[in-house]
Point group: C2
Chain length 230, copies 2
């Protein structure tokens, strides 16, 4: 029996967890070689677990420890399990992972919302649909249908947004260098979110970024590939 539980996010099908941040945590636990039970939740079920410890997932329960936030979970895992492969390879790697996170959050996430927000809505169960539509409409200042009104144009320009990754891949196969680090999982999480919710092809033709993403899907017993594209 494992004492480690990762609370993540799902729609009506709990076999299709899709949250980018939860995928970062899943890949981090797998990277450390740690057994864990993933427990996907509906949005509206999150406040009901662990005495309302966090309004968002991922939440990691590791024995007596409770940790929230994907970055904090990665930091926790590296500190708690120093003998397993590092997620940062040093303090410089940890600091620069914050830049990668900020790049992904400001460049990729808003574009994926404009592509997939209605797909995400449609994956949810009834209670979550109402919650999601209300909170997202308020946060985005538009109806979900308005948010995706330029969906095709967003898809068309998305490969350009991956230019920094594409150029870097001429130097090395992963953001982490020869092997994947948490920084890879940050970007993977965003693209896996799009893959599981929308299934849209966000890469260019003969795109080195696609090859990198496929390598990430293959990591850790092809954990990412175990959930198929929408």
């Amino acid at each position: 029996m494992t004492s480690r539980t990762l609370y993540s996010l799902c729609g009506s099908d709990d076999a299709r967890p899709f949250s980018p941040h939860c995928w970062k945590a899943v890949m981090s636990l797998a990277h450390k070689g740690l057994d864990f039970e993933e427990r996907p939740l509906a949005f509206t079920a999150i406040p009901g677990v662990e005495n309302g410890f966090s309004k968002t997932v991922p939440i990691l329960r590791d024995g007596d420890e409770l940790v929230k936030d994907s970055f904090e979970i990665a930091v926790y895992l590296d500190e708690a399990y120093p003998n397993a492969p590092s997620l940062f390879n040093g303090e410089g790697g940890k600091a620069l992972s914050r830049f990668v996170e900020s790049w992904s959050q400001t460049q990729l996430h808003p574009a994926i919302v404009k592509i997939a927000v209605l797909d995400i809505h449609d994956m949810l169960d009834e209670a979550d649909r109402a919650y999601f539509r209300e909170t997202r409409t308020k946060a985005l200042g538009k109806t979900l249908e308005e948010v995706i009104s330029d969906r095709d144009a967003e898809i068309a320009v998305f490969p350009e947004k991956l230019a920094p990754i594409r150029r870097m891949l001429a130097s090395q196969p992963f953001l982490g260098g020869d092997t994947a680090l948490f920084a890879d999982y940050i970007v993977f999480g965003a693209l896996q979110w799009a893959r599981v919710t929308s299934g849209v092809d966000l890469f260019g033709k003969n795109d080195a970024v696609r090859d990198w993403f496929e390598r990430c899907l293959d990591l850790h017993g092809a954990r990412g590939r175990s959930v198929t594209a929408a």
Copy 2:
């Protein structure tokens, strides 16, 4: 007498070196606390030094060692002077600095060219002007005047390009974390290039990225500030 020479780039005024890549190397040497003589060259003078070792600057002569390319120089310095402050803080930091380099090269550099390419031309001496105009017109597929035809619009949207840095600064004062690393010098180099050649304000109002840039100008005896804005 120092045995260390950094060949960099200048226009007709050799007190105003402007190359982004050379600024990365200047800051790297200063970060390591190493004495060096900076020898700014005209573009057309580069093949004439060190027996044509490199077509581009920076070139570092360190005793018997010759190293070119700003990233390679940083790697060399960390290996040759392991007891001085690291430029990467570990292998993860080195790998992720490649991502920062790729982000800067694909997102900031092309925009700065569209803002400053004619300013750069106008800083050069006569021989370099002809060389620069010919090579850049060929590389960009446009006259220099055409390249800057949307200059004002490029300036207006430039602060948005800094969004990943801006968001990251909510977590930490430098890309390197509590202190600057080579990754900071990569982004600093791009913005210093714009500052020295065009003098245009590329930040937003009350912009945390401006504060970070000012902190970088102050580093290492305010080396960056010693060359004033255009």
